[in-house]
Symmetry: C2
Subunit: 405 residues, 2 copies
């Protein structure tokens, strides 16, 4: 398995593009993206668990119900959520315009929107932009596409890898956007994964769900599960590997590859959380089981107090124990140990239930790095799990105190 | 029912005091408080649901198990949590010192601690201070006691009322501290309620639990349920009302009075949340039932994004719908309406599923008041519920970025 370039365009048969169509007013930055496969794909998706679902989520759920799709259109700047019947019609027009231009059945086009909630989307601008968007599809279009889906993100999020399945080189590529309204039931993000793997829709769906559980569902920026979360995977089969139609060894190789890129994206989304100065990675070792370990880790990285302490580079480990304590998981605090580590070394702060006298200055240096790892060891079993979050900063409050204007 | 002065000293037979014993280093502010009844009381308490419980919580749970107590000692500046066996012994010494000085059985003394987690408490300072603390008990000692329990609170929190039960005047008084690590399963707070009502321990316990459900358990400052939450009620029976031993009309009058003071304290704790500039009160009308209405309201006031928007005086109602959507409660978003109101008037922003064009400037003026009410009307039943929170500010991040030093 190796990392390669090209993002969503890396797998055979996929092209992409991004343009500025006018949803983001007065800005010339890209706001409309397209990813297309030259042949129909097996398709699967995971959506927000929020009861209030954006209109594009409702439409895409319908379109993907047959396990098949060929293109994804995405816009940033407007979430098209809480917009009623008018919003749903706009979503339909968005999918239809792309379908007409690409010569595809409308049902094979999926759509995603992200941005402000509760304002009608400028669908005229999208329709006007679609011809240019489709005409510009190319093998290097991932560069514009990955940019066109960003909102408050400060960095684009993309990766791709190559693995071998049944003797054939299989590629997976992905792009995603963070960075606010992100919580552990599918962080508020949009993400598209492409692959040239040959796999049935049923196995693709199983692989996606299995992978999401320990990657995307272990990310939190601010505890808010959005109305628009959508993670789509398209598999066009062009790599020529033996079709994966059951959970055999090839399926496992595919899931491993999927976990690799999804973990990388989870880290990128958390690290670029709104206002974030630090990526926090919390690993719990020795829990009852993996699920419990992940739940404990998620509770830690979701705590506002833990997040604020890391912003202050303050080794306030008591808040970590506190967050584990209200996670709903059982563990023995008297056998818990906590360590902080980063590129600058490791410090133990709590050992088997007893506070340690540690060097505060050394701890501060360790916590000053961009990526900080919280390692928690308990003695309740062999479960391990990791979750990703970020610190809570003045900048987060600033960004979200006046997001709409 | 009328509001009266005197806080925890208002009911007959209760005295209090507060002193500086030295837990808060280098500061001369009060840090040790005592509330005592001249006769033994029926007693009940509600504690944190956090699995990681502070040592005073463990001890007080034991002491109150017989439904009886006569005094409460409280300290600020150190939570005595995650301190292991040494911490538990310190908790015992704290209760014992007061019991000896007051001439009470040790089991009749309850204790509470609040402050930083994970540092050993200065028990010598507490023991040295106890004689002065007990000697100074008085009917006006509520003024020093209410101050001695504060941490990052900017205001003291106290109230008292008088009601009539069975022809007798019955008084209830209370004091509490906020203001960080506060969430809906018993916000991180300490609170003592005193009353001269005559009521059995069993009925006192039932009344407390009933009242907490819609008062203290509807407050969130930052989503973190602390290790130290303790709410204690002492009833000494000196008002001479007919003993309340079952859920009769007198019991209801007592619960009403309890709800009144607990609601007032819930509002005070939320409004003085760490860094808060606004008290947010969210009322949901027309839910399936009261429990569901409260759950929806709690989800709204717990959202970091909603809280940041109110800090920015930004009428970003989409985030309110989003928070309702991930609350886990069922409702029909297409029949939901949202209004903001305050001393400056009311503005409708979303009506029966459709975004309204409202006057942004007028909305900004309404959201500039210290108390802002979010009114949500849905059409799923006759349930109503209210929850209290505060905005998320730079100051919250500042306070919690470097709390320990």
């Amino acid at each position: 398995m190796q990392i390669i370039d090209g993002g969503v365009c890396a797998p055979a048969g996929f092209t992409a593009n991004g343009i500025h169509c006018g949803i983001k007013k007065g800005r010339s930055t890209e706001d409309l993206a397209l990813v297309e496969s030259e042949v129909p794909c097996s398709a699967a998706a995971v959506f927000t668990k929020n009861l209030v679902k954006a209109e594009p989520v409702k439409l895409t759920k319908k379109h993907i119900s047959n396990g098949r799709a060929q293109a994804v259109v995405l816009n940033a700047g407007n979430a098209n959520a809480c917009t009623g019947e008018q919003g749903y019609q706009a979503a339909r027009r968005m999918a239809n315009a792309a379908a007409v231009e690409l010569g595809l059945p409308e049902q094979d086009v999926l759509i995603c929107s992200t941005g402000v909630i509760g304002q009608q989307i400028n669908i005229d601008a999208i329709e006007s932009g679609i011809p240019e968007l489709c005409a510009g599809l190319s093998k290097t279009g991932n560069v514009l596409a990955r940019k066109a889906i960003l909102t408050t993100d400060t960095q684009h999020k993309e990766t791709a890898i190559e693995t071998t399945i049944g003797g054939k080189a299989v590629k997976l590529g992905t792009m995603a956007k963070g960075s606010g309204m992100i919580h552990i039931n599918m962080g508020t993000m949009l993400s598209v994964i492409t692959t040239d793997c040959s796999i049935t829709p049923r196995m693709l769906n199983a692989a996606l769900r299995e992978s999401v559980e320990k990657t995307y569902n272990c990310v939190s920026v601010d505890g808010d599960t959005s109305t628009n979360d959508t993670l789509i995977i398209l598999a066009n089969g062009l790599s020529g590997n033996p079709l994966i139609s059951r959970k055999n060894a090839n399926y496992r190789v595919f899931v491993d590859a999927l976990n690799t890129i999804n973990t990388e994206m989870a880290r990128k989304i958390a690290g670029d959380g709104e206002g974030a100065e630090h990526l926090l990675e919390c690993t719990v070792i020795g829990a009852k089981n993996d699920r419990s370990a992940r739940a404990l880790a998620k509770s830690v990285i979701s705590s506002s107090l833990v997040k604020a302490a890391f912003f202050g580079k303050d080794a306030n480990w008591g808040r970590i124990l506190c967050a584990m304590g209200y996670s709903g998981e059982c563990f023995n605090p008297e056998k818990a140990s906590v360590f902080f580590n980063s590129g600058s070394g490791e410090v133990a702060v709590f050992e088997k239930g007893v506070p340690l006298n540690f060097d505060e200055e050394r701890a501060r240096i360790i916590l000053s790095e961009g990526t900080v790892i919280i390692k928690i060891v308990i003695e309740d079993g062999v479960g391990t799990g990791t979750a990703w979050g970020c610190d809570l900063t003045y900048e987060y409050v600033k960004i979200n105190g006046d997001y709409r204007t």
